[in-house]
């Protein structure tokens, strides 16, 4: 036995050296180091994102008293509710129009800032980022006071010109306008800063070549700037679409979904149903309904980005 053991040891003696060098090799690989360095973040995400996500899927499959498995019963119920389809429609109007305006304003402002001489540009960049830096719950409170039904500062100012009073949050159309306006005000600086970074990475030679070819201002934007910014535009739009679809604070503080549910979006209605109405499974189902919509958008946008990445 002892001999056999000895013999075996003799055969396998170089093994530790192989193992050590294998580990060393693995550690030398950039991907392994990157994985190890991101591991704490991956664990954190698993704990704070993946677990709650699966938990909410689990909740969405329970009945109202959370004692019975109902499969997709909650979704089936939701699809029969008019209010739910109103919320779907409003969430789409809110997210798409807000993202469009944020992108447009961000694009225009980024061009303005890009054309400011480098010396004074930092000040402008800082100032223009302020709406995005203030916590939205706080800034929306200020907007709430500006839109206050009885004491609106906007209405007070407009009254000097014989306009108003405008029911900023009391009329369905104005209320929708108000929540979109505040969202655009809050989110446009993010687009601005992303587009500004993209603009700075466009080589000047391309513009010079375009100018030699006789391209006018519009042609330079259409044939040089926009193609060079396409990936950034796509990723920024996707990111903003996700965040805007999932928005809660602005609508909750400004209108709480009113009047007559005409400004409810997924998150605010999920809160109303799930937390205030104590129907947590239905609330979870409302909030999960966003997932397929955003997943489809993400697939299309990211597919285009990777396609262009491969082309380049």
């Amino acid at each position: 036995m002892a001999d056999a053991a000895f013999g075996e040891n003799a055969v396998t003696r170089p093994r530790p050296a192989v193992g050590r060098s294998g580990l060393r090799k693995a550690l030398q690989r950039k991907s392994s180091v990157a994985f190890l360095m991101t591991l704490p973040l991956i664990l954190l995400i698993a704990l704070l994102v993946v677990y709650p996500a699966f938990y909410s899927v689990h909740l969405a499959t329970l009945n109202k008293s959370m004692q019975r498995f109902v499969g997709l019963g909650n979704f089936e119920f939701l699809f029969k509710r008019d209010t739910f389809w109103l919320v779907v429609k409003q969430s789409c109007i809110f997210a798409i129009s807000a993202v469009l305006f944020k992108a447009l304003i961000g694009f225009i402002v980024a061009h303005f800032v890009h054309n400011i001489p480098a010396k004074g540009q930092r000040k402008w960049r800082g100032m223009l980022l302020v709406p995005w830096v203030i916590p939205p719950a706080m800034s929306t409170l200020a907007w709430l006071w500006l839109f206050d039904p009885s004491y609106s500062a906007f209405n007070y100012t407009l009254s000097f010109f014989g306009i108003g009073p405008i029911p900023w949050t009391g009329d369905a159309a104005w209320a929708r306008f108000s929540v979109i306006l505040v969202n655009v005000w809050y989110g446009a600086p993010f687009f601005m800063i992303m587009y500004l970074a993209a603009l700075k990475s466009v080589p000047d030679q391309l513009y010079e070549a375009a100018a030699i070819d006789g391209a006018n201002w519009w042609q330079r934007i259409w044939y040089v700037t926009l193609p060079m910014m396409r990936n950034i535009i796509a990723i920024t739009t996707l990111f903003s679409l996700i965040v805007t679809f999932a928005n809660f604070d602005i609508v909750r503080i400004l209108t709480a979904g009113g009047p007559l549910d005409k400004t409810h979006i997924f998150a605010t209605w999920a809160f109303r149903v799930g937390i205030e109405g104590s129907d947590i499974p239905l609330g979870a189902s409302v909030s999960l309904f966003m997932v397929p919509i955003l997943a489809v958008a993400a697939i299309f946008i990211l597919r285009d980005v990777s396609k262009r990445g491969n082309e380049s």
Partner: protein, 446 residues
């Protein structure tokens, strides 16, 4: 270095002494011999009102040798109900939690019955009103002890001068301080006439039609005054009834006399309306008057809190009670019950009501005539009738008597105010009723 030698006798003696101390230790009454307890109170609006609760708890904890932790959880941004949901999901958290209106029923499976302490409390303090039983009891089991802290009636708070001048109503004469009301003529018709007169005079009543509780509570009390129920106690849909049609007609007339922006009002809007001196009446507990006392004393001097107008089916006032409930996962239920008994003593209740300046309302019938309500002012006696001392109103909650889990949906979806608004904005009566029926049908799901 000298090494001390331990002989056998010394070793046996030391071991025996140590064992004796270890065995006897649990029976020594230390500072926190009765264990730990944590309580999540609602964070009071009234400055310093929390102090009375803290003092009472500390007094009890010192006497009972309990390591007590008191947390105050605000209802701003619904933080308290989010915390309830989180603790219910985690089955961990405070031992006692102060549950607002509907939350005893929505967590009924997770609450410890407190019948054993409720019976002596009721014997000492008097019976509780029907709304407290409706919200705090399930199948004969009490799910919490009615908390005076935060419990409130949202009755009318009128401007004495404006009501007298424009509507010809002397609210002080109708509800005299120190004596029973003479409010036989204070009904929904006179209310409507007064609303019209004040609207014409440019000081309209400030009654919201938003989706927050003040708007919902007022609508709920008027629905009940007309006998209008959307879902009855057995869970049957009762939307398409004459009573519902009548109350919608009433509200349509009333909305024409209210400020044009009431659809966007929240719970702060009516307070601001009164404090700014813009209206002759709001529906609120005396917090608006208390703010006026600080910020606009000339307005506060003219405020008078009184009873609701009576309707065809009676005089109903919105009552929103809180409950102190013990989670079933609490590890120190005997201590929790002992604390709740202490907090429910008449002297403790009076101390808490005093600290709130009369805002808090005990739910017990023997405790509606405390000194604080008679003494508050200016004007003196302004909130004498706030606790309904002569019990002339039915204290109720919007959407009752529907089964509480259904009523909670009607309440938080503000179905009643939405119906009033839809109909007043020109929707046909039958369309409004059909919409409401569809909504309520959805709320019936189990």
């Amino acid at each position: 270095m000298s090494r001390r030698k331990l002989n056998r006798r010394q070793f046996v003696a030391a071991t025996a002494a140590t064992s004796a101390v270890m065995i006897a230790a649990p029976y020594v009454r230390g500072a926190y011999a009765a264990g730990k307890l944590s309580i999540g109170f609602w964070d009071h609006w009234v400055p310093d009102a929390n102090k009375a609760s803290t003092e009472l708890c500390k007094e009890w904890a010192d006497k009972e040798k309990v390591d007590l932790q008191v947390d105050y959880i605000t209802s701003q941004g619904n933080k308290n109900i989010v915390t309830i949901a989180a603790e219910a999901q985690a089955k961990s958290g405070h031992d006692i939690f102060q549950m607002p209106t509907w939350w005893c029923h929505s967590n009924s499976d997770l609450l410890e019955p407190v019948n054993d302490i409720m019976e002596p409390i009721i014997q000492e303090n008097g019976d509780v009103n029907g709304t407290v039983k409706y919200l705090g009891m399930l199948d004969g089991k009490w799910m919490g002890v009615p908390a005076c802290v935060g419990s409130q009636i949202k009755g009318p708070c009128s401007r004495i001068d404006l009501m007298k001048k424009h509507a010809g109503i002397d609210v002080q004469e109708m509800y005299p301080a120190g004596s029973p009301p003479k409010a036989d003529n204070w009904n929904t018709d006179t209310f409507l006439k007064a609303a019209e007169a004040c609207h014409k005079a440019g000081v309209p009543f400030g009654i919201g039609l938003g989706e927050t509780t003040d708007s919902v509570d007022t609508a709920g009390a008027f629905f009940q005054a007309f006998g209008a129920q959307l879902v009855d106690a057995k869970g049957n849909l009762t939307v398409k009834t004459d009573a519902v049609r009548q109350v919608l007609e009433f509200y349509k007339k009333l909305i024409a006399f209210l400020p044009p922006d009431v659809a966007a009002w929240d719970d702060a809007s009516n307070n601001k309306w009164l404090v700014a001196g813009k209206g002759a009446l709001i529906m609120n507990p005396p917090s608006a008057w208390a703010v006026a006392k600080r910020d606009a004393p000339q307005v506060a001097e003219q405020c008078w809190t009184h009873g609701f107008p009576t309707g065809p089916k009676g005089r109903f006032a919105p009552f929103l009670p809180f409950f102190w409930s013990i989670w079933s996962f609490s590890k120190n239920k005997p201590a929790a019950k002992s604390l709740l008994v202490h907090l429910s003593k008449p002297s403790s209740i009076e101390k808490m009501v005093d600290a709130s300046g009369g805002y808090d309302l005990p739910a017990f019938s023997k405790l509606t005539k405390l000194k604080v309500w008679a003494e508050q002012g200016p004007p003196k006696g302004t909130i004498f009738h706030y606790p309904d001392p002569y019990q002339q109103q039915v204290l109720s909650i919007a959407a009752s008597p529907a089964p509480p889990k259904v009523a909670q949906q009607i309440y938080f979806q503000a179905t009643q105010t939405k119906m009033c608004l839809r109909y007043a904005q020109g929707e046909k009566m039958e369309a409004t009723l059909a919409w409401a029926e569809g909504e309520c049908e959805g709320f019936l799901r189990s």
